[in-house]
Symmetry: C2
């Protein structure tokens, strides 16, 4: 025990080399190698407008263009990315000193979701907000993402803990807002736009999902979710309209089979083109 | 000052009659006249499966049968009940000693929603979980509901703070689970079923919403959300199947106009019949 130790209240049980105490402990290596260029957050006020589908399609479209892409599934109580990409328990999780290694999809998209940590994919995560937000922060800080050109974040619906934490804790490049043609969905989406503006996060634009469907019998266009109004709402709220996506039964079938990456969407290519312009 | 007061640490600034101190303050009258027979909670793990529509339709169907009905809109960050029932800011809020008086719909359904408290219906509520849960508790405890035969609670999607608080704080008679035919929706719904079972709350049954749509051109049935599988999932998870509801563009149009009460649904009458049997 050195002289210094005699006056130290923590001397009992201390293992530091005398004289070395007070030195900062070694900085955690978790996430130390991460270098992520752009963080795109996909958001909607209302659930079921296809936010997760849009997240998966943006990531897939970027990956097909040769970009290095990650998906952070921040929807802790209703995660759907692993199933859409066909990554089940078999995906397995390993870790290095730099964090948990995210499982990769067929196209090499790195994916992190709470579902990888559950014994069964249908086990519920019954957590209060601070725990939910904590999990999302860990997905950002303690996952070994390494170099990524784009990280796409799938938020839960609403304006609660997780969206708030993501906007406060992640270096968000911009928000993509997803909506359906229903009036009601747009009212709730306007809440999202206002939240984003209050938090000073740039909005990349609005995507109207389920703009129309095509009848599998007579092949007529059906406006099943009401009249398309994305362009108008975008203009009214002074944000960019990125485009409308159709309701497509073949897309849903691919998602249910875990093969979202096999879907080709001309509309999404246009949307992503506009996104990249705004981010460059 | 009485002798008693001389030894009391709170004597300075105390207004009690000497000798009366230590007596419990008058119990708050808030909610004192409430007498609610059955609390039906409508839940889904995933958003956008039509939970709010089902809530509104259950309440409407019960009201048309002459029942006294209330709706507690517990979806604080994405409330949709006021718009569906055409109750805007003009609904106004008044209060008595017994609590806030809930606005009433055309059919006399008492409705409480965070939207009545916002300057604009599209203002966002950017709150963390404990605040969200607190608002829902107040809607239960501090609203002057009086006698109700049925209270229908519209939960936000997921298994976070608000569903947890409702299950812990309200005398829930049973849960109605809503799902769409998509595989993915069912995976997330199974989480809900497991949560409910963990919390020891009875499940009244499963409703499959958007079981099919009808083409407005050729009038063929379209399984736009995938093959119906409600009955199978209910059997697999050992809960009752209450029935399937079609996707109906005319219903959505009424909701957008605030006229949900004008919708007549034979399917919902059957569902409500089964619900009442289970609750009797």
């Amino acid at each position: 025990m050195s002289d210094q130790c005699k006056t130290c209240p923590s001397s009992a049980g201390c293992n530091s080399t005398p004289g070395n105490c007070g030195v900062e402990p070694e900085k955690s290596l978790l996430g130390a190698l991460n270098d992520i260029q752009h963080v795109i957050v996909v958001m909607s006020g209302k659930g079921g407008v296809g936010k997760s589908s849009v997240t998966g399609l943006i990531a897939t479209t970027l990956a097909k263009q040769g970009k290095k892409v990650g998906i952070l599934d921040a929807d802790i109580t209703g995660p759907s990315q692993p199933k859409a990409f066909g990554l089940g328990k078999t995906a397995g999780l390993k870790a290095t000193d730099y964090g948990i290694i995210p499982p990769e999809t067929a196209l090499g998209i790195k994916l992190m979701s709470i579902n990888f940590f559950l014994p069964n994919e249908d086990d519920p995560v019954i957590w209060r907000g601070p725990l939910l937000a904590g999990a999302v922060k860990q997905f950002w800080e303690e996952v070994d993402w390494r170099d990524l050109d784009y990280m796409v974040v799938d938020l839960p619906p609403g304006t609660g803990d997780v969206p708030l934490t993501v906007m406060q804790s992640l270096p968000v490049s911009g928000i993509v807002i997803v909506s359906s043609p229903q009036d009601l969905a747009f009212m709730v989406v306007k809440k999202t736009i206002k939240m984003t503006q209050k938090m000073n996060i740039p909005i990349l634009g609005l995507i109207e999902n389920m703009s129309y469907a095509v009848c599998s019998h007579c092949h007529e266009k059906l406006e099943i979710f009401g009249k398309t109004q994305g362009a108008k709402v975008a203009a009214d709220t002074d944000i960019d309209f990125l485009g409308g996506l159709p309701w497509d039964a073949s897309f849903n079938a691919l998602v249910d089979k875990g093969k979202i990456e096999e879907y080709e969407s001309k509309e999404m290519k246009d949307v992503v083109g506009k996104l990249l312009e705004r981010l460059s």
